[in-house]
Amino acid sequence: MRPSIAKKIAIALLGWGIAIVMFFPIFWMFITGFKSEVDAVSTPPHLFFHPTLQSYAEVQSRANYWLFAMNSVIISVGGTVLALLLAIPAAYVMAFFPTHRTRGTLLWMLSTKMLPPVGVLIPIYLILRATGLLDTRTGLVLIYMLMNLPIVVWMLFTFFKEVPREILEAGRMDGAGRMGELRHVLMPLSLPGIASTGLLSLILCWNEAFWSLNLTSSRAAPLTAFIASFSSPEGLFFAKLSAASTLAVAPILIFGWLSQRQLVRGLTFGAVK
């Protein structure tokens, strides 16, 4: 049955409504970054204002954006690559050589995500301090890797499950060996899945704030800490905060935009097959 015109219009309106509601805060942040501090806090807000780059200039003069951005890139990519390196073999074994404990192990891994991170803040903090990893990129890379590992293993597991077992067995008959099977057969076949898993992990790492704020101060601080450094308890300097936030989220937004097709394809890979 085809939906009627009225129904189509209603669905379109609803879709647009939800999109606008979700996009509005980002749009407002973007706009506010170009306002003067006075315009930024005026009520009712001015719809028309003189755009200025003053806030961006001040943000630049007060903190080295590139240092934070570089930290974000290194930590996100490092955490993601490390997680993939560990998760690919793990998911391979779980998908193709399951034992009666495999399901339980997967659920247990996921259950760690149900714990509030703050619950383990003190032990993690003490461990990093004892190992000298506080405020280091290495420390955050390790934490991010651990943080995303359950999700990455789960996603890869479901992607690998889609690969017919017989193709891997054919590889085994052809003399590929375990690593060869993984490298020449399984990974090329599930590349879309691995890519979208990596993209998702990258985004999660980039946006992570809890650990980065608590475990870094200056040397290893990523862009989330950069934003936080512009927020003041009194709620002042909205324009500068908005400018800093825009700078911090812009790279990942652009990245997400460019890779959205890949991301959607990977995430719906299993569902539509």
Binding site: E169, A170, R172, M173, G175, A176, L189
Partner: protein, 367 residues
Amino acid sequence: MATVALRDLRKSYANHEAIKGVTLDVEDREFVVFVGPSGCGKSTLLRMIAGLEEISAGDLLIDGKRVNDVGPAQRELAMVFQSYALYPHMTVADNMGFALKLAGVKTEERNAKVAEAARILQLEPYLQRKPGQLSGGQRQRVAIGRSIVRNPKVFLFDEPLSNLDAALRGQMRIELARLHEQLNATMIYVTHDQVEAMTMADKIVVLQAGVVEQIGSPLELYHHPRNVFVAGFMGSPRMNLLPATVTGADTNGVAISGPGGISVIVPVEPGSLRAGTKVTFGIRPEHLTVDPNGTLNGRAMIAERLGGLTLLHVELQDGTLLVVQTDGADATRLHEPVRLSISAPHAHVFGPDGLSAEHLRRNPLTV
């Protein structure tokens, strides 16, 4: 030269035994077919030979060497899977050359071998295509090509034709038989289709529930099935199997009385059969004939006309159903009385234990 020997091979899982002790010798250049209903363990047995399933107990010997603990690739076997299991991201040429590439064979030599296999299988025009761009039959040929280039000791086939349509299956059956001639290789082939087994095998192994029911040539299984299961499984259309009673036994054979007025002396060794023993009487549709002087009275209920021959489903007076194979030109009308005669030398008697009574004279083709 390649022989395979199975010595009391067993496969057990946590709570059941899938293969319950199989002993078998596969001679050099022999075409052996494992056949049986689904779930009988035939694929498991093949995968154990391939090295894809662990062997729980017993010995597997290839060319006389025990290979239980040798990896699948080092056993030098090649396997063709039911789903073809081609590498979808590689071209046909790369699919066929993959094993050689892994083995470190030089590019020129590899290309030569792939080209040779492609020539044998008429795949030359498709070498640069991906498997997704090929038809089912072509994919199957690529899968076979992939096994040929490795020049394996033994070819293993796991229901390779069951994903093909009937016409293509018939054609591939002939191609495989020709390939067996041409390559002079030892082949082990798994199927649930007894027609494939009958037409291709030198030796058939009939399996049921992890147990070998009988090993023999196709005609041996057809003419001298060891038990009721093999008798019912091999041969199409299926053998008529009816409950019957022994009325007498001597050196001329065993006299049988069955439902619908069946009364016949079957020339088999009486063994332990005595008057009054409950037995199963077996007669193949092709050994029943429509005969005005026949001893059985019935009515043809259904006629399956296949053109060259016709299968009549005849209901005897007491309601017993018999399938009779007649000539395609048979003019028997439905629902009208028909008389049948039984070719006694071709009948079978299965004792209470299900085992076949030995025929006094074996079929000349099976000696």
